[in-house]
Every structure is written in C-alpha cells, then in structure tokens.
C-alpha cells in the first residue's frame, strides 16, 4: 500500500513539472535550456557606469559601488576554486578614493588578473585598468586622462589645492607603478590643451594607449581569456617548481 502511495506521489510530481514547463512556454514563449552546473574557475568583475564612493547616487544612475566590489574581491581571493579574474571596464570614472581603493585591491590580489577596457575606461578607470597583471583595450575604446577635479563648494583655496595635488600625485604614482608609461608622459597627457572641450587632458584611443605604454595590448575577449589561462598555468608551474 505504501508503495502505491509513493508511485502516486511521484506521478503527481511529474505532472506538476510538466505543467510548469507548459506554463513557461505559454507565458514567455520559451523554455529554459539546461544550464552548466560546474563551477567556472574564472570569474569576471564588471566595473560599469560611475564609480560610486562616499555619496550615494540617485537610483537612475548606473553605478559600481565600492562597498559591494571590495567584498567580492575578498571572496574571490578566498575561494580556492577561483583561479583567475577578468576585469571588464566600461566606466566614466567617479569617486577618486573609491576608484583607487578598488585598484589597490585588484593589484594586491594573489590570483592572476587580466583587465579589458571596452568602450571607455575614463578618469579613475585608468588606475583600475592598469592595476591588473595584464591589460587589454579594444580597438575603439578610449581612456580620458585628466587632472583631478572637484565638483562642489571650495572654502580654503590654498589648502584645497594642496589636497587635490596630493590626491593627484597618488593617482599618478599608482598608474606609473603598475604600467609602462613614464611619469613625464602621463603628466604630459594629463595637462595637454586643445584635446578636450574646455578642459585640459587627453582622450587616448585604444592603439595609442598601447603606444604610450599605459595598456599592454590591443585585443578583445578571446585574447584576454587566452592570456588569463596562460597566467594561471604559469602560476601553477611556479608553485610546482617551488615545491
């Protein structure tokens, strides 16, 4: 008797499942394809929109929040099944402190990292792009290099200038340390006139960014994934040699 009940229960379940599928087809005109269940060893972090720091942006803005990205980087560092990280940038920049915080976190990650700039990696997106072990930029992507600006009320002018200058120095030092560009060249691009509308700075397009030594290579997702796999293999071999 018990067995009969069990069979009945099972067939009921199957029917329910069937109903769900038909429901899905009726509602959306599609059914779910079976998904990959295995864990991928490469994770991808997308830095999109504005980089949000101390001030919360209104919800209509697309923003990358640093209080959310930083714990994710910590989780990636801790998870042993994740072997590499691909950072995808399409950002207009934003908060300097938040951007530098993300860049420092990525630079200090022990796992191989590869960044790829799609569309734009402007302003504070530049240190984030160079913070990875290897960086790519697509042919049409651009990066705007400009001095640090302040939007808001300024009270003590000399003090504010000094503060901004120090902050800018941090950005310059980070970028020159993590990429092949010289400080002189980076500053030249930062302060050049006539490139941006009513502002100083330079808009660097993909191949130019590579020529200046800011980015390692022009390429897309295929090249980036290939490089990341190479770096992962290299890291594994290095571990073996040490043992």
């Amino acid at each position: 008797m018990e067995k009969e009940q069990y069979i009945e229960f099972e067939s009921e379940q199957q029917e329910e499942k069937k109903e769900k599928v038909t429901e899905n087809i009726q509602q959306l005109g599609q059914t779910n394809v079976p998904q990959m269940t295995q864990d991928t060893n490469i994770h991808c972090l997308t830095i999109v929109g504005q980089i949000e720091g101390h001030i919360q942006l209104p919800p209509q803005n697309k923003a990358t929040k640093y209080e959310h990205v930083i714990p994710q980087i910590v989780a990636i560092e801790q998870n042993p099944s994740i072997e590499g990280l691909l950072v995808i940038l399409n950002t207009v920049g934003g908060d300097v402190e938040a951007g530098l915080a993300i860049a420092e976190m990525l630079a200090s990650l022990s796992k191989p990292t590869v960044s790829i700039v799609l569309g734009g990696g402007h302003s504070i997106g530049v240190p984030i792009a160079v913070s990875c072990n290897y960086s790519f930029i697509t042919e049409t992507a651009t990066m705007t290099i400009h001095p640090i600006r302040l939007t808001g009320l300024v009270i003590g002018v000399p003090q504010t200038f000094e503060y901004l200058d120090k902050m800018q120095e941090r950005v310059v030092r980070f970028v020159t340390k993590h990429s092949k560009i010289s400080e002189e060249k980076f500053k030249e691009l930062m302060f050049s006139k006539g490139n941006l509308t009513r502002d100083i700075g330079t808009n660097v397009v993909g191949p130019d960014a590579v020529r200046y030594g800011l980015i390692d290579e022009v390429g897309g997702v295929a090249q980036a994934m290939k490089k990341l796999r190479e770096l992962i293999e290299w890291k594994k071999d290095e571990g073996k040699m040490l043992q």
Binding site: Q30, L57, P58, P59, Q60, H68, A75, G152
Partner: protein, 74 residues
Amino acid sequence: MILYTIMPEHLIFPAASDEYAKQKIVYYDGIPFLARETETKEWEIVRNLSTNPADFLNQKYAPGARISMPQATS
C-alpha cells in the same frame, strides 16, 4: 531656462529620498542582485551583481525576472 554648469545633475536636482528606498541589494540563491520593488509589491531584478559568469546564463536571474521574498540586506 538653460543651466550651464560643471556640477553633476544629482547635486543640483537631488532625487526624492523615497527613490533610494525602491532599489536594494538582495541575495537570492546566494547570488547578489540589485532589485527594485514593483507597484504590485513584487521584487524585480535590475542587475545581476555576481562575478560568476555562469550565473548570467540562467534565465531565472536575467534583468526583469521576478523574485519572491528576498532576504533584504543593506
């Protein structure tokens, strides 16, 4: 009136405070999402914040999908 300024728009025209409450970061099936409360008191996915690319292949987690009873955080 045309206003020329270098100030960001959100500093000049601040959004109403209840606008902020509509969106929240929630964890659903262990995956972080940016979700929005709809008029019908359901939660709708705005953005998938996961770093695992496999999570983006699932139709269930696509933007616009409804999720039930999220564990609200932040």
